[in-house]
């Protein structure tokens, strides 16, 4: 497994591939136009429209894949790195076994090019600190600044380490990714080009048993797809086995900080003015001292807006404002004390009333309880807003967050922003680290769900199609990956359509068999040829199976990510048990797929029966039977996966 995976792509191969792309897209367009305009069965529109939408989705997916492959690039080994570069090797861990991290750290120490190795322990475990000391590698955990502030998972862990280290380049490794000694010798040379910010190498796993039942290896992604993206300068960061230029990350952190501060301050200034207006109009804010205070705050805010509009830096403008607010607050302390006595008197009166005749003036009670209705409460909420009109990013542990925190997959979002700043990336197609893949279906599903959720978060928060700094192909390359995660809905239709026909004789396509095959088959054949040519000898069937068979995961990812971004609901990670349930297969994890398989088998029985009774149309039945068999073959990937108990040779499970 440790052999470099290199395969030169000849000019002839690339030409052949481009012809295949053009032919596939042309035949696909021919098919889909005919489907939309000349063959929709409107009598069964509910399944007809669903099917044609799913087919359109797939055609766009294929077209994006074609665009990806258009400039697939094989890189030569870069020049040997110049001496004296400084490199930090970061090993990120949260709860992985100490032994597993030690194994990675030992290998990291053996990397030949001079470097410093650090264990970034988000679990803050004493035994891990001890292990780091014994191995003589650095140990970094979160400081007190992170208490009661968002931790941002792995992105936060890396951002924290960035502030206490000083290497020009960072090699980022997941806890289980054991690096080979020449990993830096083969990659640092790319950074001779000052524009290069990122070098990503493949993620390969050496604990995967023959046949790869869980589809852990991703030879199509860490191969043709990343090479294709690389051709458009859009190879992206995948979180581990990657090198990053510190200067690029810090520059990103600073530009994002400035953007963020400008946005926050502008928004807060506008918001504060509204809150002040409301507070000033309230009936019980008529105390003259409070009115004066509110007035002064309002004047200060007005001055701040004028100053910023006139070109004052937000640093100085907010400082001046904070100083004025501080003096207003000091004046108010006296008022606060006086009102507090009044409040107490009011409460005392109420209690007397309640005791006397058990009559509770609910309205008054509520008024007193709702602190924001009282003048001081209003001013307090104003203060909260005013506190946010500052450049200290008080809500975050550190002002700079170079690694993006908008998504649980910080890697993709970060590389997109780096590309947006004009930096370039490299995909280096050589195995330079060996990791451990999940060894049971549950862990694998959780991992895929997380990737899909993270990708969807980026798509919804920073849609690549709308990012100004990116070239059009770069936008499409990022979008392509996001688009592929929408496949769950299409899969559902592809499972439903043949079952609907076999059970009810409803055909979504309104045509003759000949017409259908004339348009569909050439497209299908070209499509498969394109995949064969692109994959260049790599087996892609496992990947194709999983992209459809995991449809409930993809659907859950899109719905939870949308709920998270739009309604601020937590993503709600399913916590998978660390120990596999011995002796039982994991059928409970794939109930939707089992249900689909049962429906498909039942529909076969019904379809054949209908044919025997002379109810079913023969060619249609045959086509749909073939379709169902294809669907069942796709789903069959889950049977060995659910029964899989991990490779027996490995002692450690991530």
């Amino acid at each position: 497994m440790a052999v470099p995976v290199r395969s030169a792509r000849s000019a002839a191969h690339l030409l052949f591939l481009r012809v295949a792309v053009l032919v596939t897209v042309a035949l696909g367009a021919n098919y889909i136009i005919w489907r939309w305009f000349f063959s929709l069965n409107w009598d069964a529109w509910w399944i007809a429209v669903a099917l044609v939408l799913a087919e359109t989705y797939s055609l766009i997916d294929v077209a994006l894949f074609g665009l990806t492959m258009w400039r697939a690039r094989d890189r030569e080994l870069p020049a040997a790195p110049v001496p004296d570069l400084t490199v930090d090797v970061f090993i990120t861990t949260y709860n992985e076994p100490v032994e597993l991290v030690k194994r990675t750290a030992q290998a990291a120490r053996r990397i030949r090019y001079p470097h410093a190795t650090w264990i970034l322990d988000d679990g803050n475990r004493p035994e891990m600190r001890e292990a780091a000391q014994l191995l003589e590698v650095g140990y970094i955990t979160r400081g007190p600044d992170w208490q009661n502030r968002p931790l941002h998972a792995k992105a936060g862990n890396l951002n924290n380490a960035l502030m206490s280290t000083e290497g020009e380049f960072l090699l980022i490794l997941d806890a289980d990714q054991v690096p080979l000694p020449h990993i830096l010798d083969h990659t640092l040379g790319y950074f001779n080009d000052p524009k290069v910010a990122l070098v990503q190498t493949p993620q390969v796993f050496d604990n995967v048993s023959a046949g790869d039942p869980l589809g852990s290896q991703a030879p199509l992604f860490y191969g043709p797809i990343q090479q294709g993206k690389d051709g458009w300068n859009a190879a992206f960061f995948c979180g581990s086995n990657a090198l990053v230029r510190r200067e690029a990350l810090m520059q990103l952190g600073i530009t994002r900080y400035v953007l963020e501060m400008e946005r926050v301050v502008t928004r807060a200034l506008a918001g504060a003015a509204r809150v002040l207006d409301r507070a000033g109009r309230a009936d019980d804010a008529q105390d003259p001292i409070v009115q004066t205070a509110l007035h002064e705050v309002g004047a200060a805010i007005g001055d701040t807006r004028i100053a910023i509009a006139a070109g004052e830096t937000i640093g100085n403008a907010t400082y001046t404002l904070q100083q004025r607010i501080a003096s207003v607050s000091r004046d108010l302390v006296a008022v606060d004390l006086r009102l507090l006595t009044l409040d107490l008197a009011a409460i005392a009166e109420l209690q007397v009333e309640t005791d006397a005749d058990s009559f509770i003036p609910a309205h008054s009670l509520e008024l007193l309880a709702a602190r924001d209705l009282s003048p001081l409460g209003a001013l307090e909420s104003v203060q909260v807003l005013l506190r946010s009109i500052d450049v200290d990013r008080a809500d975050e542990a550190q002002p700079l967050m170079p690694l993006a925190t908008i998504s649980v997959t910080e890697d993709m979002a970060t590389s997109m922003r780096l590309h947006g700043l004009g930096f370039s990336s490299v995909y280096h197609h050589e195995t330079l680290a060996l990791g451990l893949a999940p060894e049971d279906l549950g862990t694998m599903i959780t991992q895929r769900l997380r990737w899909a959720q993270g990708t969807m978060q980026v798509m919804l928060r920073e849609n690549p199609l709308l990012q100004r700094g990116l070239s059009v192909p770069q936008r499409l390359m990022y979008f392509s990956t996001m688009w592929s995660y929408l496949s769950g809905y299409a899969a559902l239709v592809y499972f439903a359509a043949p079952a609907v026909f076999l059970c009810f004789g409803i055909l979504p396509v309104n045509t003759t068999a000949l017409e259908f095959f004339l348009r569909f088959l050439p497209f299908m054949v070209a499509n498969q040829l394109l995949f064969i040519i692109s994959s260049h000898g790599i087996s892609t069937w496992r990947g194709q199976q999983y992209s459809l068979a995991l449809f409930p995961v993809w659907i859950k990812a899109t719905t939870t990510a949308a709920a998270n971004v739009v309604f601020h609901r937590p993503l709600g990670f399913a916590v998978t048990p660390k120990t596999r349930q011995e002796g039982t297969a994991a059928w409970h994890l794939i109930l939707p797929q089992i249900a689909v398989a049962i429906v498909l088998v039942v529909s076969v029985i019904i379809g054949v029966t209908r044919l025997g009774l002379g109810l079913g149309e023969p060619i249609g039945t045959l086509v749909n039977l073939a379709w169902v068999i294809f669907d069942l073959l796709i789903l069959s990937v889950l049977v060995p996966a659910a029964r899989f108990r991990g490779s027996t040779t490995k002692e450690s499970t991530p």
Binding site: M163, E166, I254, T255, Q322, P399
Partner: protein
């Protein structure tokens, strides 16, 4: 690389930096500012007149120091950047956050 801290009285400290303010020296600047703020001088003027090179990590340390000072009710200001430093401030848009004063002595009395 050298840091010199001068107490100006009235809670003001001037941090004079000589040499390169980059990823190697940035952590030290953060420490110096933190120490100054902890000692009660929460208004820090950073004198950049003898800084001949700054990178994004150097800027990052200035922002880190700004946060430290602000949270203690003070401020961090910069003074006398040379051409290269000015250019970096421009390119990163940091000039919209930090005002560059002509001299450190003016930073809090301008």
């Amino acid at each position: 690389m050298q840091f010199t801290v001068t107490d100006q009285g009235d809670g003001i400290a001037v941090v004079h930096i000589a040499g390169r303010l980059n990823m190697v020296t940035a952590p030290r600047l953060r420490e110096v500012v933190a120490a100054s703020v902890a000692a009660g001088q929460n208004r820090v003027a950073v004198d950049l007149s003898d800084v001949d090179f700054i990178d994004s990590s150097g800027l990052g340390a200035l922002i880190g120091g700004l946060k430290t000072a602000r949270q203690a009710g003070g401020d961090l200001r910069i003074a006398a950047p040379n051409e290269q430093v000015r250019l970096v401030l421009q390119l990163t848009n940091m000039e919209r956050v930090l005002t560059a004063y002509p001299a450190a002595s003016d930073a809090f009395h301008g």
